[in-house]
Symmetry: C2
């Protein structure tokens, strides 16, 4: 059935079962592999526009592009445990060194910053829009090749919580410019959650307990409660913890509530203080308060998150998971270097978001081209048409020539199907007179003009 | 020494030697793998500009973006033999199906067109700018992860030679806008070359002989001659062939020469006729005749090329190989489908080109940011600075806030190092008066103005 999942338990795979030596007996299939997104031109153009929107927002906030290879050493990829995702790593076969495909953009950024430390200026504002690879079981919202759009600010020694606020501002700006109106970014603080856990049981295995809390949305409160109790936490404390983090309301209301719950753990109070400082910055940085909220149940499964955490769920599609997540990490480079580089980042899961967007937005009417004009030659000699097209392109108007012999009717049909807004016919009459008929496809309107007039007319409409 | 080359002769590798199971005993290295390009911010920004230039040119000619996955089934990747490159394929380990990383963008395009045939309009104008993977021995101009910028026009049943001319026009426009002035695209026709070979020996193994001729630049005429004789071709005929293809001169001169050499082979004459027709189109499509030439020795190593072939060498760096290559293929989809889809394409090797460009263009003076202004807070409270930055961004001015506590001198040093053109200080005085000092970093000039005046001033300079 599902033949391309990397085997998570490698020890059980003998060499003979290695799929790379197996001959497929199926007929040659041109279908894209399950879990991979491949788009038709209309959808691809929409995807490109989204990618550009995100990039423009990141650059407007002053972030600089970074691009790391898709292939990294396995020991680098696994140096920072990144929760479940690292188990889904694709490995390359038969290379002298153990190599794998990156499963996120944070680990490669850590390597990048360590390696280029001397030539970077800190705080370093970086973004990377690129593909990552995960051997997930394909399902709605889960892809094996997916675009992540990461933006990170990395300081030396210290980094103001204004940086966390900036992430929230970037995330909301990007989502809003992408037309995603049904999503508010939820924020929380891992210190606050860890403090709550320590208050319940000073000997708690915090990372494991946080991973359990992270499953709240997926498995429900009763199951989380039973799993936390299974980890050795006292039943009563767990119930109390779950009732605290279930609290909903406006940011200010939740912050007051947290002051009133009577916890003593200092980590808890540090988390509350950070959350309050962050909230105080958010407004100044231009984020409308309808665009974010505090959700005390957000834990995130990643081990390197330390303070602020972000998640974003689409109201109408919570089941696909978060489309914009991130958080604070106290030391990005960890095992790679002795520098201490605290950072905070946020990442838009563009493939997942686009997939969901496409389900709600029929593209039938959209154009599948960036062309403005198609020149239709009605002469045996294609050169006059090619010359006109070249002239128009020289004036900045995206133009193509229809080069194949076909009846005018069929050429118009093609232009219509592609969605070109204008066509112009080049025949004997046009050559003689130096005047051309420019036809607007949608209205059917025709205008007769010289090529210079046509260029001026189209430039205004490009 | 060189541990990440995929083993070209798989039969000799036993499971125990599979590098992916080997533990590296080296310390954790954060160096980028050999053969992979990773750039510092200044260089990355230059690279992004080049990528954007190429995309803009492709779109101006009316080509639509396509994006295929980096991972494909091995049987798909190997369905069309693509010369040496297919031997350098990276495979994934332990997946149920045999999967590999794409080594070019032509094979994935063939699969894409077959799979989406029903929803495409033909002639289909497509471009793809993406990374491909090749287990090459790293050396100057050879990378293991490299960007290819492919542009292809695919027809049904037939495709005019005007399409080949369009490729030449796109290639020259892109190179010229990239500032690559030392390169002219060379063109040839494989039918012409095959005809010459058949004239020498009707039983010649044409693909193998063409691959030998393709090595002319690398190994020299004497060695090619001896290898062709080794393939069983008569010495005299080989000498004559090599003297014909050595001919240099203007396009019209070479075409006349080809008419005069007294060959009888019909394929040769078809090749000459195609080359003449192509040359007749080139001028009409706006290509200056200094930007291209005919080079009869160009063969290309790919088996799917059938007619026109293109190659481009940098005058000052011929050793890195062609930076812009392509050609005509009679049937793109071949083994994938029963449709006949002739196509022609050209591809810019951006990674190779950029690497060479970087060697000649020191980036010290360039900026490492797309920022226009950095706001430097001089108050304990960061919020007024954040508000000003948010206001400027709202006016379309890329702006960041310096969030860390530091002396003004150090903040200015940071701004200078990043290359931000303007800074503005927010202190007590500015808050009181509502007037800010905008400092232009390069000239040191300062202007005092309100935030609205500042936005207007900067908008003009963005």
């Amino acid at each position: 059935m599902d033949g391309i999942l990397p085997n998570e338990n490698e020890a059980e795979v003998s060499a003979g079962e290695d799929g790379s030596d197996q001959d497929s007996s199926e007929a040659l299939s041109t279908r894209v592999l399950p879990g991979f997104m491949e788009l038709e031109p209309r959808a691809q153009l929409a995807f490109e526009r989204m990618k550009r929107t995100i990039r423009d927002v990141y650059e407007r906030f002053g972030y600089t592009p970074v691009e790391t290879p898709a292939i990294e050493r396995v020991d680098v990829l696994l140096a920072k445990t990144a929760g479940e995702t690292s188990k889904q790593m694709y490995r390359l076969s038969r290379t002298g060194q153990a190599l794998g495909l990156r499963f996120d953009l944070t680990v490669p950024l850590a390597r990048y910053v360590t390696e280029h430390y001397g030539s970077l200026s800190f705080p370093f504002r970086a973004y990377q829009i690129g593909k990552v690879y995960r051997g997930e079981r394909p399902q709605k919202g889960r892809f094996r090749e997916l675009y992540q759009c990461d933006v990170d600010m990395i300081g030396t020694d210290q980094l103001s919580l204004m940086a966390d606020a900036e992430m929230l501002a970037i995330g909301t700006a990007a989502l809003s410019e992408l037309g995603v109106s049904s999503a508010a970014i939820s924020m929380n603080n891992r210190k606050l959650l860890s403090g709550l856990l320590l208050e319940v049981d000073p000997n708690v295995n915090t990372p494991e307990a946080l991973r359990t809390i992270d499953k709240l949305e997926k498995i429900g409160a009763a199951e989380v409660e039973s799993q936390l109790v299974g980890l050795g936490l006292p039943q009563e404390g767990v119930s109390r913890l779950l009732s605290v983090i279930d609290r909903r309301g406006a940011a200010e209301e939740i912050l007051s509530f947290l002051d009133s719950v009577g916890m003593r753990n200092p980590l808890f109070h540090e988390g509350v203080r950070e959350l309050r400082e962050l909230a105080s910055y958010v407004e100044s940085i231009g984020v409308d308060n309808s665009r974010y909220s505090i959700d005390l149940s957000i834990a995130r499964g990643l081990d390197y998150d330390t303070g602020t955490v972000f998640e974003t769920h689409l109201e109408n599609a919570r089941e696909i998971g978060s489309i914009c997540s991130g958080g604070r990490y106290d030391n990005l480079v960890g095992t790679f270097s002795s520098h201490k580089l605290p950072g905070v980042g946020i990442s838009i899961g563009l493939t997942r978001l686009f997939d969901q967007w496409l389900r709600n937005n029929p593209l039938e009417a959209a154009s599948s081209t960036t062309l403005k004009v198609m020149v239709l030659p009605m002469l045996e000699d294609l050169r006059p048409a090619a010359e006109l097209a070249s002239f128009l392109r020289g004036c900045g108007v995206p133009t193509a020539v229809e080069t194949e012999r076909a009846k005018l009717r069929n050429k118009l049909k093609l232009a219509n199907r592609i969605g070109v807004p204008f066509v112009v016919i080049v025949g004997e009459d046009e050559l003689q007179s130096g005047k051309y008929s420019l036809k607007e496809m949608q209205s059917g309107e025709q205008r007769t003009m010289t090529r210079a007039e046509m260029a001026a007319y189209l430039q205004e409409r490009v």
